[in-house]
């Protein structure tokens, strides 16, 4: 279109074919997000962790509640690819080296050492204990493990009762990761509704909600949690305890989200396009739903993603302190609790390292993912 053109209808017909396919806001966000390598990788990693939570039993090698008197504090076994048979030739066989107990003269107690003669062949899709996949399909196939169901492998070692740490971490994923999701969903509901009311209507309602948030935030977290958790009767079934712990964890989580939503509402309320939408005859609710929410939903998704790791850490801290989930329930927090005293850590450091690494990796991945989403959702960032 030339500058002095007064009849643009006829004039700009020539550029029809030059206009590329125009992308909507969501595809633009996705394109920007994919360029963020670390976040993109984290998305896959987080997806993998959630799959692990979903298909936990399939990935485990042993029943998590099965104890083994002969393997308390067994160290992680090494996995090797080749064996030497009698003639001394090397042969390919995926296997783990078994362990045997030996008296350690120096320490004057019995310790585990690797037994070169005991070879545990490993395989994929092996037979193991019975379980129900997704709670529906009865199965006894496991992705990998010892070929002989009676052999026991400890990839990450065993705890004081000889239970397999690896399997317990895999199963703990379900509780720990879902507590993050459920907790965030709960904070989202409270946070968005209270923050939305606060920001859209303003005035005295805003004042009351903001003071409430400030009050909640001024309470020291750990004592508050402890107080609330102390109210959970010990006799409650694990599922109910789990639910209450989630509620407790999200009691704090919603405040920051509510503030963010409020801020967004406050700034959007004054935007011309919101005024214009109101003048178009839309009701308050329609304006919120069609114009305001879409313009900050990507931002909210990013904040929610960033809130998930906080929830996970909160659950872990609670369970570690012994006021969250109780031992029959397996979560990363209850696993860490096993590594509470110094002697255990010296004797069996894998009790701390294995679940600890898992938590750190999950939290980091979720944080990177959230950062990437936030950057991609911000139209002003480059």
């Amino acid at each position: 279109m030339t500058l002095t053109d007064t009849s643009p209808v006829s004039d700009n017909s020539k550029d029809t074919n030059l206009v590329p396919e125009l992308l909507g806001p969501w595809s633009l966000i996705w394109r920007k997000f994919k360029r963020h390598r670390l976040a993109y990788f984290s998305l896959w990693f987080v997806g993998f962790i959630y799959l692990m939570a979903l298909f936990g039993e399939f990935l485990t090698t042993q029943d998590i509640n099965e104890t083994n008197r002969r393997a308390p504090f067994a160290p992680p076994m090494s996995v090797q690819l080749f064996t030497n048979d009698e003639s001394g030739t090397s042969q390919f066989l995926l296997h783990a080296r078994g362990l045997k107990l030996e008296l350690n003269e120096e320490e004057r107690r019995r310790t585990f050492v690797e037994d070169p003669d005991k070879i545990i062949p490993l395989g994929f899709f092996v037979e193991g204990y019975d379980y129900k996949l997704l709670g529906l399909i009865p199965l006894n196939t496991h992705l990998f493990g010892a070929k002989n169901p009676r052999d026991r492998v400890y990839f990450f070692g065993a705890d004081r009762l000889g239970r397999d740490i690896y399997s317990r971490i895999v199963m703990g994923t379900r509780v720990s990761m879902s507590i993050g999701l459920v907790g965030v969903a709960l904070s989202m509901v409270i946070g968005i509704s209270l923050g939305g009311i606060s920001g859209y209507y303003g005035g005295w309602i805003d004042n009351i909600i903001q003071r409430l948030i400030e009050f909640i935030r001024s309470i020291p977290t750990i004592p508050l949690w402890m107080g609330l958790a102390a109210a959970i009767p010990l006799g409650w079934p694990p599922l109910r305890t789990y639910f209450v712990v989630t509620v407790i964890v999200s009691m704090i989580g919603w405040t920051s989200l509510a503030r963010e939503v409020r801020g967004k509402f406050l700034s959007l309320r004054k935007e011309d396009f919101v005024t214009a939408a109101r003048l178009d005859g839309l009701t308050d609710w329609e304006v919120i739903r069609r114009h305001m929410v879409p313009s900050f939903s990507s931002h909210i998704i990013a904040s929610l993603t960033l809130a998930v790791p906080l929830m996970i850490l909160a659950e872990t801290s609670l369970s570690f302190l012994g006021i969250g989930l109780q031992p029959p329930t397996v979560s990363w927090g209850t696993l860490l609790k096993e590594a509470q005293n110094i002697r255990t850590i010296i004797q069996a450091p894998w009790l701390l390292i294995a679940p600890g690494t898992m938590i750190v990796m999950a939290v980091l991945a979720l944080n990177f993912l959230g950062d990437g989403l936030r950057d991609a959702a911000d139209p002003n960032a480059h």
């Binding site: 279109m1 209808v9 806001p25 005859g281 009701t283 114009h291 313009s295």
Partner: protein, 321 residues
């Protein structure tokens, strides 16, 4: 041109400055201060003033986007002030608004068809193909191609976006369009195009415009009557020719003299001293601190609007100086 469409009477909007939860406001800004005027059917009514004069607030108070503190805005006899939401939505179909910045008034996340179509589907319940037809028709009316229907606003240039804004305003077949600085975000040649478009549409659909602007050159060619605002008050209201040829209020004179003349040998205009301070003492004429003709009377007594040669002027000495 004789029948008033909109009658504004004693409109006030006061903003409290400072103060908090427990304390009283420290100061009051009278952004719109006791303003009254009529807008006649089919005319273009200009409202001009420097920034901070309250012209945008006035436009928004008329639409009830900002609730006025007091006064009345009557549209065909129905008062908008204090009207319920249902009545307001009805009237918002007849009085439409074009915003200054098309970038911010068009939601970047909605397609053209949704942006322009939402008022139609709200007002008439049109959907699907019928709605698409109506929106393409509107796009053609404002000189855009109907194929742009499914594009997002970011695919348009500034001038095209303002055309979208105009199409959106036209969507409900309005009687009155309040254009709030509708062309000031555009460059000069696009301004001319847009103004021509507005003129054409006015002839075609017998529209009445309330044109808020700060650019005198724009209103001079566009408006039939002009109200000059200073610190929330209309200091002079008269026909365009009269205002430009025979300005009566000293502020109007200063404004007209400040229009740059594209001639290097032209006489340098007298500059106004000081600046418009929105928080003013209740005593005297608001323009008196900057007025070259101010006397003790100006500083002591509040002037009242007087009719001089067909113009409404808010000055003690208008006509004499």
């Amino acid at each position: 041109m004789t029948e008033p469409v909109i009658e504004v009477r004693g409109l006030n909007k006061h903003f409290n400055i400072g103060g908090g939860f427990f304390s009283k406001p420290n100061d009051v800004v009278r952004a719109v201060d006791n303003i009254s005027f009529d807008v006649m059917r089919g005319e273009s009514f200009g409202i001009v003033g420097e920034s901070g004069s309250g012209k945008t607030t006035l436009g928004r108070c008329m639409m009830q986007i900002i609730k006025p503190s007091s006064g009345s805005v009557k549209f065909h006899g129905t008062d908008l002030v204090g009207a319920d939401q249902k009545t307001l939505r009805q009237i918002w179909q007849a009085i439409r608004m074009v915003f200054q910045d098309p970038q911010s008034s068009l939601n970047p996340r909605l397609r053209v068809i949704d942006l322009i179509g939402q008022s139609i589907s709200k007002a008439e319940g049109l959907k699907g193909a019928a709605l698409a037809d109506r929106v393409s028709e509107l796009l053609t009316k404002v000189g855009l191609r109907p194929e742009f229907l499914h594009r997002y606003p970011n695919a348009f240039s500034g001038g095209q976006r303002q055309r979208l804004g105009i199409a959106r305003a036209l969507a409900t077949n309005p009687e009155v369009i309040i254009a709030d600085e509708a062309v000031s975000a555009l460059d000069v040649s696009i301004q001319a195009q847009t103004l021509n478009l507005l003129k054409d549409l006015q002839e075609q659909y017998a529209l009445t415009y309330i044109f808020v602007a700060h650019d005198l050159a724009v209103v001079e060619h566009f408006c039939d009557r002009i109200a000059v605002m200073y610190l929330g008050q209309i200091v002079e209201l008269s026909t365009t020719t009269d205002l430009f040829q025979n300005p009566k209020h000293p502020y109007t004179r200063a404004l007209l003299e400040a229009v740059p003349i594209p001639d290097p040998r032209a006489r340098k205009p007298r500059r106004l001293k000081g600046e418009a301070i929105p928080i003013v003492a209740s005593k005297g004429c608001r323009f008196s601190p900057r007025c070259p003709h101010a006397t003790d009377m100006c500083r002591e007594t509040v002037p009242t609007t007087r009719k001089i040669d067909g113009a409404d002027v808010l000055c003690h000495y208008a006509g004499d100086i």
